[in-house]
């Protein structure tokens, strides 16, 4: 039989050279897969962080504009990183951006709450009506994650001042 003849001629199994070559090829393939996987993991983490930041910035903006539209009295004499007003239920509410913490805070009843993280810039621009009361507030929020930044801006007209 040919098969028997063949086995007799050559011992079954891999030679050292064959093993080394296959190991080298395997290692190269595994490295390629590992690099691709790591890149996608980094991408995923950055995306996740960006998504969280933009989402909380959006919620903060919606919250601030909604409250400002129905606000009773907006304080015209605070800095551009602050916005202070009374709600129709007479709650005293202040939104404040602190550049040192990179955070946007909600301050009410003597308590501070963090509304948004990773904020690199925030500004409140008030436009005054003829009686000196702010009639509109422009809000701009910039969030940063890794190397990418995103600016969201919104406006609220104080309906009582119209």
């Amino acid at each position: 039989m040919k098969r028997k003849h063949c086995l007799q001629n050559r011992a079954a199994g891999f030679t050292v050279v064959e093993c080394l070559i296959s190991l080298a090829i395997c290692a190269m393939l595994m490295t390629a897969v590992a690099v691709a996987f790591n890149a996608s993991l980094v991408n995923f983490r950055e995306n996740e962080e960006m998504f969280q930041s933009i989402n909380s910035a959006r919620q903060a903006l919606t919250r601030m504009t909604t409250q400002l539209r129905t606000a009773d009295a907006v304080d015209p004499n605070v800095s551009a990183t602050q916005c202070s007003f009374f709600t129709p239920a007479s709650e005293d509410i202040t939104y404040e951006f602190r550049a040192a913490d990179k955070k946007l805070y909600l301050i009410t009843n003597g308590n501070e709450y963090t509304l948004c993280d990773n904020v690199t810039d925030a500004s409140f621009t008030r436009t005054l009506a003829t009686n000196g009361e702010p009639k509109s507030v422009l809000i701009s929020l910039t969030v940063q994650c890794g190397s990418s930044t995103r600016t969201l801006s919104a406006a609220a007209v104080v309906r009582r001042a119209l």
Binding site: K2, R3, C6, L7, R10, A12, L29, A32, V33, A36, F37, A39, S40, N43, F44, N47, M50, F51, I54, R58, L61, T65, T127, K135, S136, L138, R150, T151, L152, S153, A154, A155, A156, V157, R159, L162
Partner: protein
């Protein structure tokens, strides 16, 4: 294993199949992570567009009925904020405002002659492609 083929090992076809399989899995990995980035960017773009619609809405809230009814500007590129200042940071977006008189008995139909109600429609486009649109009724008050 009869005949002259007695050497054991992988054939060329088997190697090719395995390389194709590994290649496919890496491609799938890259496509999956890329689609996450795209979905994320699309979400951020749509929320930006929503805020741009709101800017126009607040702008019309500060205007008189006659001023709103007379709005017939070309698309705002770059988009504008509630005070009409250009938002240069969002230059890839544009806002198109269309104002039409509507019948006082049926807001869904357009009126031929001026009435006391207008429908304001804002369409926000990103790189010329509309991604968000909203409309509302403004009454004379």
């Amino acid at each position: 294993m009869n005949g002259p083929r007695c050497r054991k090992g992988f054939s060329l076809v088997e190697i090719l199949i395995s390389i194709i399989l590994v290649g496919l899995s890496i491609t799938a990995l890259v496509i999956a992570s890329n689609s996450f980035t795209q979905a994320n960017a699309a979400g951020a773009d749509i929320s930006t567009a929503e805020f741009l619609v709101e800017q126009i809405r607040e702008r019309t809230a500060m205007m008189s009925f006659a001023e709103v009814a007379a709005m017939s500007d070309p698309p705002y590129t770059p988009p504008i904020d509630a005070h009409g200042n250009p938002l240069t940071a969002l230059a890839t977006f544009s806002q198109q405002v269309v104002v039409a008189y509507v019948n006082r008995t049926d807001f869904s139909t357009t009126a031929v002659s001026p009435t006391d109600f207008v429908r304001v429609t804002v369409t926000v486009a990103l790189n010329g492609r509309p991604i968000s649109s909203a409309s509302w009724i403004r009454a004379r008050y």
